[in-house]
Symmetry: C2
Subunit: 329 residues, 2 copies
């Protein structure tokens, strides 16, 4: 497991570049549920997601440990691509992102708008091969999306900041789990700052590889790309580095697609923020957990981001869930 000091260092390094995102809550939601829920709004982070933290720390770690970084490469069709493109731009390092050509145009466009070169290839296999080949060149470095100490330490700064902002003892901290970078960093920050606080991950039922890895104490892999609204949690498997953290979690929940859509609608409506389904998924896990707690709980939820394409928004809002207000019974 990474050390808490790595998160403190990461925070010092990335602070001048990232946003100290607000911690928000909804009076109505707290009143309806009878608990106290805080949300760390990483949708307001640079590039619209917590991934900017890990990307920024990884680029800086590279620059500290290698004297001639000529180019940074990454393979991603999502927020990690934008995070690396943005982080490279902060330090004037050229970036190439390899993406499958079936990735959304909006994401390729956003990645380019941060100044990165985007190379589109037909299959995911070609993408992975291309980044591997590129990283063999002299002065070219690959930044992995989650299975990396510097990335995990960067992601841990979200919880690190939030715990300081709230400055009260919490009963639990929830975060979504895709490849596991965010929940791993969250675990290390929380254990050091509030050892009594539970740290709990949430994953879609349809993409429950990390949940099954947690339960079986062995990394499990999905056979193929899962179908889920929580597109930040579609990773086929966690990595050995994130698994070392994930196995130490207090609990792990899986949630169904309807709950993900339900909470995306309600959190957008109540918080007035454009939060992505992967973020709402964590709240769906909180809701399950609260059913078993009769005492008033104080909970932090890391809202991972707010990058949602139009097709996803249409799917999320196709059914009206706002007619059924949140309750615990």
């Amino acid at each position: 497991m990474i050390k808490f000091a790595a998160i403190e260092q990461a925070h010092q390094r990335i602070k001048p570049y990232i946003n100290e995102t607000p911690v928000v809550s909804s009076e109505l939601l707290n009143q309806w549920l009878g608990h106290e829920i805080y949300f760390k709004a990483e949708c307001l982070q640079k590039i619209g997601a917590f991934k900017a933290r890990g990307g920024c720390n990884a680029v800086q770690s590279l620059l500290l440990s290698h004297s001639s970084v000529k180019r940074i490469v990454a393979n991603s069709s999502g927020n990690h691509a934008q995070a690396v493109a943005w982080a490279g731009a902060q330090f004037k390092i050229p970036v190439t992102i390899y993406m499958p050509s079936f990735a959304s145009k909006v994401k390729a466009q956003a990645t380019r708008s941060y100044g990165a070169e985007v190379v589109l290839l037909d299959t995911r296999q070609e993408v992975d091969q291309a980044v591997e080949d590129a990283a063999k060149q002299d002065g070219v470095f690959w930044i992995p999306p989650f299975n990396d100490e510097a990335v995990i330490a960067g992601q841990g700064t979200a919880a690190f900041e939030a715990l300081q902002q709230i400055n009260q003892p919490l009963d639990a901290v929830f975060a979504p789990c895709g490849g596991g970078g965010l929940i791993s960093g969250t675990l290390v920050a929380t254990r050091a700052m509030q050892p009594q606080t539970q740290v709990i991950a949430v994953e879609p039922q349809t993409a429950d590889d990390a949940y099954r890895s947690y339960k079986s104490k062995k990394i499990q892999r999905l056979p193929d790309a899962p179908k889920t609204l929580a597109d930040g949690a579609m990773t086929l498997s966690i990595g050995p580095k994130t698994f070392e953290h994930i196995r130490m979690l207090n609990d792990f929940y899986t949630v169904d697609e309807q709950s993900i859509a339900y909470w995306t609608q309600w959190l957008q409506h109540l918080l007035k923020m454009h939060i992505e389904p992967t973020s709402a998924m964590a709240m769906a896990g909180v809701h399950q957990w609260l059913q078993m707690n009769s005492l008033k709980q104080r909970v932090l939820v890391i809202l991972s981001g707010g990058n949602i394409d139009a097709h996803m928004m249409e799917k999320i809002w196709a059914t009206d869930y706002l007619t059924k207000r949140p309750s615990l019974f």
Copy 2:
């Protein structure tokens, strides 16, 4: 026209109850358009809309001028209903809201959740009659949605705050126009604080009564309820008090439904906020205005709110506008 001092007084009065909402901007949008655009985020206001300002000031004005206020009544199916319900609750005054039974369940529910009694009646005529009858009773007072000095002064505090927050000379301030309360207050605040700044209203093409009133210098009325995504701008006509302000505006734009949907998507995406179509409509007006300005402009847009029902969200996101990024050409 109301005096600037009325806005200053309103701000002093309502400050302990309302949120000082942030002023935000999008680096990407500014880069793409080549201008500097600031957004006053009234979607993060109490009840999710600027209407809390006018409601709160109107209730306090009533309490200052009348010794026995037993009940407050209002007729509205939208944000004004929630604003009056919320403001009444702040001062422990019972509130009754008359609403047409075809109003959305979510809005009736939200109004009730602030502690107001909601009376549903079959037609808008019955609603208007009921509120008129109620206000004839001793100690019962009606708070109108826009054609009222205290309401206008309250709405003007949004621009009042934003101009202080930005603290730089602006070229123009844009706000949506429904009944005209917000744009009227915005005009008075801006004229007093930055006399050189243009104040410009925006309305849907399909609900252009205020635009036609502005052009013809005479209040014009829509024959019947217009169809528009900008449900905050469906008012059939402005009132004599708001007209006195609206006639003094520097300009007035009307925008089509496609632009409203386009800018709702893009502002939600770029600002990561759940903003309503009526707010995005104001940005559509800014976009038209910027086409005629070659010099770099600094603009403030009042984002009116973020209360959107699921059906509206589905309509907004049915077409993918995120594939065509904002530009001026």
